[in-house]
């Protein structure tokens, strides 16, 4: 799968940072004190900037409406990374390596949803019709890189979530 490695959070990230700084040699050209210090600084910045917050309602809505599988996120990541390029189903399939038919169906579905536009040649280009769609796609791709497990859970536990949403509708005071 394309994308970065899974990164730990909070307490685990502090341990990871310390372990990387003082135990594991950083693989940088300058492995002296300056090299270790800069590596430690990068790890600290990662630790401070990774969020533990739940997915935003807008992102949950985007996933609920447009994303039904991990393959679809991968396809969206690929086409959104190069908005100027026209992608055919075959080209996307060569990168994703799932099934050419499902890739073609996904591209068509994204086109109908307004995320892509289709050219006469049968190729697709990433061109969301609205700011909400563009923002949703960008947030999803970013969240998938940083919080893959949460995103996958959000996609695949959807039927029970819908049932629970129905039950939660009758709570007069909503939890924040």
């Amino acid at each position: 799968m394309p994308g970065g490695s899974n990164r730990p959070h909070s307490r685990e990230l502090v341990i990871f940072t310390l372990w990387n700084s003082f135990v594991r040699q950083p693989r940088t050209p300058n492995s002296g004190i300056a090299g270790r210090a800069s590596w430690w600084l990068v790890c600290c910045i990662n630790a401070l900037t990774v969020s533990d917050a739940p997915l935003t309602p807008a992102l949950q809505q985007f996933i609920s409406r447009h994303i039904h599988s991990v393959e679809q996120i991968e396809i969206l990541s690929i086409v959104s990374a190069t908005p100027a390029k026209n992608w055919t189903a075959a080209e996307v399939f060569r990168v994703v390596q799932s099934s050419e038919r499902s890739v073609a169906e996904t591209l068509e579905a994204f086109c109908k949803a307004g995320l892509l536009i289709s050219e006469r040649s049968g190729a697709y280009q990433f061109a969301p019709k609205s700011t909400e769609l563009r923002q949703g796609a960008s947030d999803l791709v970013k969240a998938y890189r940083e919080r893959r497990v949460t995103i996958v859970e959000t996609i695949y536990k959807r039927p029970a979530d819908r049932i629970q949403h129905f039950a939660d509708a009758f709570k007069l005071r909503k939890e924040k």
Partner: protein, 108 residues
């Protein structure tokens, strides 16, 4: 006209009982009592339809009484849900999604 009323009543009963089956399934899946009350309400709504068609106009108020019970059940379900503070037997609130990412430390 009477034939149309009877057909509509039969269709409503069938659909109401199909919905009842779904609510019972949800109750089994989530353990939330709300679904049992809704299932019972739709059972009564199905029965009410048939009773109104079968009984003569003098006794139709009995059918409307059943409708009253059905809606009282729905009201009770809502009150019960809020009284419990939303803590169903197995259901969880949508804001309590567990942050699974923090449980996967990777070192390296």
């Amino acid at each position: 006209m009477e034939m149309a009323k009877a057909m509509l009543a039969g269709a409503i009963m069938a659909v109401a009982w199909a919905i009842l089956v779904f609510f019972l399934r949800f109750w089994r899946k989530t353990g939330d009592r709300l679904f049992v009350f809704f299932a019972a309400a739709f059972l009564l709504l199905g029965i009410e339809r048939i009773i109104i068609v079968v009984l003569s106009s003098d006794h139709r108020s009995f059918g409307y009484l059943i409708r009253l019970f059905a809606f009282l059940l729905i009201l009770f379900a809502i009150l019960d849900k809020n009284r419990r503070g939303g803590k169903a037997a197995a259901g969880t609130s949508q804001s309590k999604a567990p942050d699974r990412d923090s449980k996967r430390p990777t070192l390296g």
